[in-house]
């Protein structure tokens, strides 16, 4: 246990240094990269705290996708931060107050890692003891995520859908998804690495494996860390990699047109459809027992498979669309810089 704590301490030290660096760094490109590293180190810390699913997601989303988005934005705006802060004392006061309150609140919390803490005693003990007979999956997180709290996950999927809808509304120019609508003069965008043969060859080799890995993560979520969300992000990442190297215009034939927008909705509708089917069978919404009434545990399996598939479809479609609308937007402001996307 001592080792775990000292490793955690090292990670915390890293995080503090990175956090301070993000604060003072005025080159926003560097600050974005540092934030990505912050996420990656957090993911390592999550693994140390047994949260493997959270670590997986944080690494894929926080360190991966978020960072790509920040960089895509900076590629459009070419900004560096001007020096100076606003209301430094007020900000410090608010932060000290908030942090102080939180620390005060922890004083009555049980010591870190105690197995007798109330948080472990009540509902969690049920999941650990009974999810294997209720649902029959080895990964307790997946059981809770997709069945016991499947409605939360449905809400989560709609958060993703909302983001996809919102970003499209804000960023899509008319006819963007129509084939041939992408008239970006080749020189107006940052140079892509398509001229570099090694990068190209490596990327081309890796692409099928990334997509295959996504399918594996999708299917394997029942048994180990992973599931529809992580799979969706990885699947989209494959295409994002392609776009980063050959330029987003090359993605247009794949993403262009309505199919991907349709996929965005259809994942949600698949998840919701499973729920509505249960409802029509006379069971509560999302009660997967309805799928095979004479063998509820099998029903849970089918239900979880289907809803995870829905999650995977919508997440990958939304991530793709978000990346796409960011990367094909013409750059704003003056002068071309050398910042790659």
């Amino acid at each position: 246990m001592i080792e775990t704590n000292s490793i955690a301490l090292v990670f915390f030290a890293f995080l503090l240094v990175i956090g301070v660096a993000v604060t003072v760094q005025r080159n926003l490109f560097a600050a974005s990269m540092l934030t990505g590293i912050f996420s990656l180190v957090s993911a390592a810390l999550f693994t140390l705290m047994d949260a493997v699913d959270v670590a997986f997601t944080e690494a894929a989303v926080g360190a991966g996708f978020s960072t790509v988005l920040f960089l895509a934005t900076l590629a459009l705006t070419k900004d560096t931060e001007k020096p100076g802060v606003k209301r430094p004392f007020a900000a410090t006061f608010v932060v000290l107050l908030t942090g102080g309150a939180l620390i005060y609140g922890t004083l009555d919390m049980p010591a870190w890692g105690t197995s007798e803490a109330p948080i472990h005693a009540h509902t969690a003990s049920y999941f650990v003891t009974h999810s294997i007979t209720d649902i029959g999956l080895p990964n307790i997180v997946t059981s809770v995520l997709a069945s016991y709290r499947g409605y939360d996950t449905f809400g989560e999927l709609l958060v993703v859908f909302t983001a996809g809808t919102g970003v499209t509304l804000l960023m899509q120019r008319k006819g963007l998804f129509r084939p041939g609508a992408l008239a970006i003069p080749p020189k107006s965008r940052a140079p892509y690495v398509r001229e570099m043969p090694v990068v190209r060859a490596v990327a081309k080799t890796m692409l099928p494996f990334i997509l295959l890995f996504a399918l594996y993560v999708q299917a394997h979520g029942d048994f180990g860390p992973g599931g529809g969300f992580q799979a969706g992000v990885i699947f989209a990442t494959g295409f994002v990699l392609y776009g980063l190297i050959w330029g987003p215009a090359k993605l247009q034939p794949i993403i262009g047109g309505r199919p991907v927008q349709g996929l965005m909705a259809s994942g949600v509708l698949l998840y919701g459809g499973v729920g509505v089917f249960c409802l029509l069978m006379g069971y509560p919404f999302l009660d997967y027992s309805a799928l095979t009434p004479d063998h509820p545990v099998h029903g849970q399996h089918y239900g979880i498979f289907l809803v995870e598939l829905g999650v995977g479809i919508t997440v990958s479609a939304v991530m793709l669309i978000i990346y796409f609308v960011f990367s094909v937007r013409p750059r704003v402001g003056r002068g071309a810089g050398e910042l790659g996307p």
Partner: protein, 139 residues
């Protein structure tokens, strides 16, 4: 105080979170604010996850038992905070994406992403409008 010695994980996490919150409040550049927001949110996720940790426990995936079933006697960390935080991560990235889309639109419309410059531009616009109205009224 002996108890408090076992809470340092939480406190370090709180310090990290407050660093992020400070960036959100005190920094003027919109992209920087969103970076701070990300750090704040990741710290909250860390806070939840660390609440779920059981000392000596293992990840909440069943270990195989002796008789072909699963090992229910092993100590597993709490799966519930993990489930909740998967949702929180998704909410975080959704917020970031939307925020960045707004930053791009703001940058296009104002030519800057610094809070005080944008506020100044808005004020100037408002003053100009007001001056016009006063002039009209005087006519």
């Amino acid at each position: 105080m002996t108890q408090a010695a076992h809470l340092w994980h939480y406190w370090l996490i709180i310090v990290l979170g407050m660093l992020g919150l400070w960036v959100v409040i005190a920094k003027r550049h919109y992209v920087k604010k969103l970076l701070g927001l990300s750090i704040f949110q990741v710290s909250v996720i860390m806070f939840y996850v660390s609440m779920g940790k059981v000392e000596g426990g293992t990840a909440p995936v069943y270990l195989p038992g002796e008789d072909g079933g699963v090992d229910l006697t092993a100590a597993y960390s709490n799966p519930l905070p993990h489930v909740l935080m998967l949702t929180a991560i998704v909410v975080g990235v959704a917020t970031t994406a939307l925020g960045l889309a707004l930053v791009v639109r703001i940058r296009e419309a104002y030519g800057t992403s610094e809070e005080d410059e944008i506020a100044a531009a808005d004020r100037a616009e408002e003053d100009e409008l007001h001056r016009q109205e006063l002039a009209e009224e005087a006519l």
